[in-house]
């Protein structure tokens, strides 16, 4: 397996080779993220198109990817999430809605709709979301194996309980129990956010 620096070099200097390598190694990974978001609302063609868009977008950004900020895999994952969410919104008629962050949902619940956000509020919300995201990852890590993997499969990749049970050779009801207990732990650890 070549490193990210070498892959970036390939994408820039030998684009055919670089793109082929990137797709050979990460196609299943990206497809899973995209499929996790879109499978409930559309079919194979849209999922394949969106997966292709992700690779094309990262390929187009090859000159500006800064691997100090994250690995190629992370860039692909973030791009896959964004493209899939965008597609999801288009397909479900939510294309013109503003980005609803988890924090903005929180604010809506206390009676402060998205339209009432000021610019300062939005920056603050973004910073809070970022910090909460990092804290969330730390807490998921603290769950330990196999619970942390179950959480990632369930909430990051959108896999069903059955698929997780099959992949990890654990009974479905055990998976459900671990998720329920894990959510309680996270709720406690993250306090006010939830």
């Amino acid at each position: 397996m070549i490193g990210d620096e070498e892959l970036i070099r390939l994408l820039r200097d030998e684009p055919e080779k670089g793109l082929a390598y990137m797709m050979d190694n990460y196609l299943g990974f990206v497809y899973t993220i995209v499929s996790g978001k879109l499978a409930a609302v559309t079919g194979r063609e849209d999922i394949e198109e969106c997966t292709s868009d992700v690779f094309y977008a990262v390929f187009q950004s090859r000159d500006s990817i800064d691997i100090a900020k994250g690995s190629i895999k992370a860039f692909l994952a973030v791009m896959a999430k964004r493209k899939a969410i965008d597609k999801f919104r288009r397909l479900t008629g939510q294309a013109n809605e503003p980005l609803r962050t988890a924090v903005s949902l929180e604010q809506e619940e206390i009676g402060q709709g998205p339209g009432q956000h000021t610019a300062a509020n939005q920056v603050e919300a973004a910073v809070t979301a970022r910090e909460t995201g990092q804290e969330l990852v730390r807490q998921i890590k603290a769950l330990g194996p196999p619970d942390s993997e179950i959480f990632i499969r369930k909430y990051y990749f959108g896999q069903s309980t059955r698929a997780i049970a099959q992949a990890l050779a654990i009974k479905e009801n055990t998976i459900d129990k671990k998720i329920s207990r894990g959510l309680d732990k996270l709720k406690l650890a993250l306090g006010g956010v939830w």
């Binding site: 397996m1 070549i2 684009p15 055919e16 793109l19 082929a20 390598y21 797709m23 050979d24 190694n25 196609l27 299943g28 990974f29 497809y31 899973t32 499929s35 194979r44 394949e48 292709s52 868009d53 690779f55 094309y56 390929f59 187009q60 900020k69 994250g70 690995s71 895999k73 992370a74 994952a77 973030v78 999430k81 962050t101 988890a102 949902l105 929180e106 979301a129 970022r130 909460t132 995201g133 990092q134 969330l136 990852v137 998921i140 890590k141 942390s148 993997e149 990632i152 499969r153 909430y155 990051y156 896999q159 698929a163 992949a167 990890l168 959510l183 996270l186 709720k187 956010v193 939830w194």
Partner: protein, 487 residues
Amino acid sequence: MEEKMMKFMDQLEHDATDELLELIEPEAMAQGMSEGLDQSAIRRIKDKTFMKAGLQPPASPKLRRGPSKLLSQKMPLLAAGVLLFLALSLMNFDVVIAAVNRFFSFIPGYGIVENQAGANEGDAILYVADSLPSVENQEARLSLQNAIAGKDNITVLFEVEWKNLTEEDLLAKKQAEWERLQKEDRLQQPEVSLYAGEQQYKDFMGSTGGGSRKESSTFTYQVAATDIGKDIVYRLEHGGLGLSLEFTLKDVATFERLTDIGATDVHHDIAITAVPEFAGNQVTVELYPLNKSNYQIQSFSKEWDRGYGGQDLSLLTSTGPKSYTLPESFMGPNTKFTFALGPEDRDLVLDIPFILVQSSEYKDIKLPVPAEGERLTVNRKVEFADCTMTIVDVEVENEAFGGERALVMNLRYDNKAPDKIMSGTGFMRLSSMGRPAGGGYSMEPDENGIITKVAFALEKGDGRSLRLRVMNPAYYFTAPYRLHLGR
């Protein structure tokens, strides 16, 4: 809380994503993921992405062994005297077409070979495999697809089916191949030897394709002329699998007419011959094209994003039309179609309502890039042998190409023959020096599968004009091929 959890996961930045994904081992990530992602889907996604990026999709991995330069000069099967169709063209070999005094050699599973009168003796195909044995162990099945012998060479076509390969194994195999390619600049060389009696031949030149559970290979061995004959027992030994099979050779069957091989129909200098194989309650029809046109065949049937007027290849029977199933894997245009048959089905006719073809023509043009929000009528004509394409107007749209800024072109076609319907063309950016410089685009077909709108991605440095290469015009040839299979 679950919804919030997902929302936070959706918004993780790169560093947090890395931290999260570190918790899953790469091997574990393959387990239970990629559901629905079969080899065909992988191929489609790769092709689309490479097309958007203006790059040539990767070809099947090629294997090379031994003194290839020397061998390549000695490849009589690739020489101009013998015309190899279909199978070799699917593997990126040059197809050589010439005017000939015809007679046809038919090699099942391989192609129709049109022998040239007066060709060098060394270029002629003398023998093919007498039988097609198959052997297996717990790991794999090795099947001979055919063997083709010239004066001093034997080409062996064989298939390896991995019996117990998991998705994880496939990923590991692919990764190992890639690592070797990086280190040694070559793919793994399978230990496949050909024995003529006791004489071992190890060096070969050829290619392998497929890449999932089934791989098809075509290896050519230089063999002493004295080791070519019908009375010699040959052994193909696959060291990697620990399997070997034996075969003998027989005279190649030759025919004066294509119709002696199977039902044949010809339009626009492209003959298609259909050879049916009945087994139980189904028939598998294999198509053997003989192409003397200036076009390359892209498809005999509707593909998910390409098809004319909603039509598709089918089998017409006395009880009505039947739709087909495809083989598990294939390279290039699929030529094998399988149909389920009932006891009442008679008068079988394979109906191919159109074929999709493509030429290598291209034209270089320059288009104005209007200001955003302005639609500019240009009526730029691009002349090809069988159609004039007109770029009617252009407009810059900010989110036309996967959310990116693009020059949107509306297209019209004036076809020169009623049964040659242009479906669209490829596009490539040209540098200021007039050299091809990649570029991505998306296409929008109408209900007939004709591309009427193209969005070509613009780059930051693009000014008020864009130089493009308009290339590889593709057509639906709609003269129907009706192939009577009998029964």
